[in-house]
Amino acid sequence: MNTDNIEKLVVELSNDPFNESLNFKVAEEYLSLNQTASAVSFYLRTAEYGTTREYAYVSLLKMAKCFETQNDRVHTVSNCIFQAVTVLPERPEAYFYLAQFYERQRQWQECYSMACIGLNAVKDSHPVLPGTTDYLGEYCLEFEKAVAGWWLGRREESIVIFKKLERTPHITEEYLASIKRNLEQIGATV
């Protein structure tokens, strides 16, 4: 397994151990090798020692993903996401993560509520985050709202959202396939 990049970055970090950008880069490099425990260490240092809220925010979301892939750490996953919410409560990404989290737990009202809060936080003016997240845009939150809504008895609303999403440009293939599958299962295909 090639660890040249990790070596280079950790050596750089040794000269500036509390630098948020460097800690984040080390974490990202470990994550690229699926070394999630190692990644957690450096994401947490990014959040604890950094001064830029966007770094802390995205690091906490990444930590949640790391724990999710390790399985059976649900309290820790939700804790990380809720911590991200405290850092930048005005942004939508963490609410999307919470909506997804509650969807997996089949806690539909919580999922629906988080999707609605997230949609309320969608704006074009948010600063760009220093790393990627699973939140790809407003349609992700709409999707969660439609899924949870169906289980909450909001069938018509769910169909309307799914149909609107089906026509949304630039949606990923994965989402589009899932939307079509949901519409089929609901029995609302055109």
Binding site: E7, V10, N15, Q35, S41, N71, D72, R73, H75, N79
Partner: protein, 333 residues
């Protein structure tokens, strides 16, 4: 200045140790133990655990639900389980081989800490051993050092435990936990059990018996100096890395801690002659732990874990080691 920075800026090298996630579920790879065997191979025992340590540092704004220092094991499995991988590095410290050590199934673990922990790899009289602490044989977690005899097939690169000997504490054997004894590389089956005062112990690798060879008075340490690396020959003296720990609780009664290391020196008769006047860290993390040291091509290899989640071998150039020795020799007591 941390030791990685100091070593690398003088021509040393840092080597991250990673094995594929498919074997580990991504959880901690930690506390590696480096050793150079009779063939000149650089061996490392790499500890894999089923948890991820979370340690919130600085202002501790983002602790886990259980506090700033938590072992995040599976929530439906309270065990903190260890398995060991025996690895071989090339002279550039790149991992060329690794294998999970196949342990004998001698008993069902009956405590939460499962497996052989912080095992130092060593070769004595031609045979390979892992020597670490096991705490899963009693319901109260009593810890004892254990020899795990290893059959290492270097062609197929497999490692199997062939025999296990639990080492009683010398004397009454009534202590709760024995761990982190320094193996003395050129004194087969001898360990430094305590640093200051220095207690040298012989432990029989064939049956459960041990005895104190001698205890030598030393100055009082600034903080209890505990075992970490091997004790190796460095010219005419012995050199080892100790660890010291400041364990405390926050106002919510949640545990926390800071680990630091020092170099300790003994003469050939194990009279303590030096100790780093100031502790050092490897990467300025609060939880770091050294489990091995070896001389290689005139330099010093030190292996350490970072926050129980990452593992490294650091090549420290001889020049830096000599400076550290000079600093240690100035220790005022």
């Amino acid at each position: 200045m941390n030791l990685v920075q100091r070593a690398v800026s003088h021509g040393g090298k840092l080597a991250p140790l990673v094995i594929p996630e498919g074997l580990t579920n991504g959880t901690g790879l930690m506390n590696p133990s480096v050793y150079v065997d009779d063939d000149g191979d650089i061996l490392v025992n790499l500890r894999h655990v089923n948890y991820t340590l979370v340690h919130a540092e600085n202002k501790q704004q983002f602790p886990s639900r259980w506090g700033p220092l938590s072992y995040l094991h599976p929530e439906k499995d309270q065990r903190l389980a260890t398995e060991n991988y025996l690895c071989r590095l090339n002279s550039d410290l790149q991992m060329t081989d690794f294998t999970k050590v196949e342990m004998l199934n001698l008993h069902d673990p009956i405590w939460e800490f499962v497996g052989l922990e912080d095992a130092r790899v060593i070769q004595w009289e031609g045979k390979y051993y892992l020597v670490g602490v096991r705490r899963d044989t009693t319901t109260i977690g009593q810890g004892r050092m254990e020899y795990t005899h290893i059959k290492l097939d270097k062609k197929k690169w497999t490692a199997k435990e062939t025999k296990r000997v639990r080492i009683p504490a010398p004397g009454k054997d009534d202590s709760y936990c024995e761990k982190n004894w320094f193996p003395v590389v050129d004194e087969p089956f001898h360990f430094i059990k305590w640093t200051m005062p220095t207690e040298l112990v012989y432990a029989n690798p064939k049956k459960p018996e041990s005895q104190t060879v001698f205890t030598k008075e030393t100055p009082k340490p600034p903080r209890d100096q505990r075992g970490s690396s091997h004790a190796i020959r460095w010219g005419s003296i012995y050199l080892a890395v100790t660890h010291e720990v400041d364990l405390f609780k926050n106002y919510l009664d949640q545990k926390d801690g800071v680990y630091r290391h020092r170099i300790v020196l003994w003469d050939e008769q194990f009279n303590l002659i030096g100790l780093s006047p100031e502790p050092f860290s490897f990467l300025d993390g609060n939880i770091e732990f050294c489990v091995g040291a070896a001389e290689f091509e005139g330099d010093l290899l030190i292996s350490f874990g970072f926050q129980d989640n990452a593992a490294f071998v650091l090549r420290v150039p001889r020049l830096v080691v000599e400076d550290m020795i000079m600093e240690a020799l100035t220790y005022e007591h």
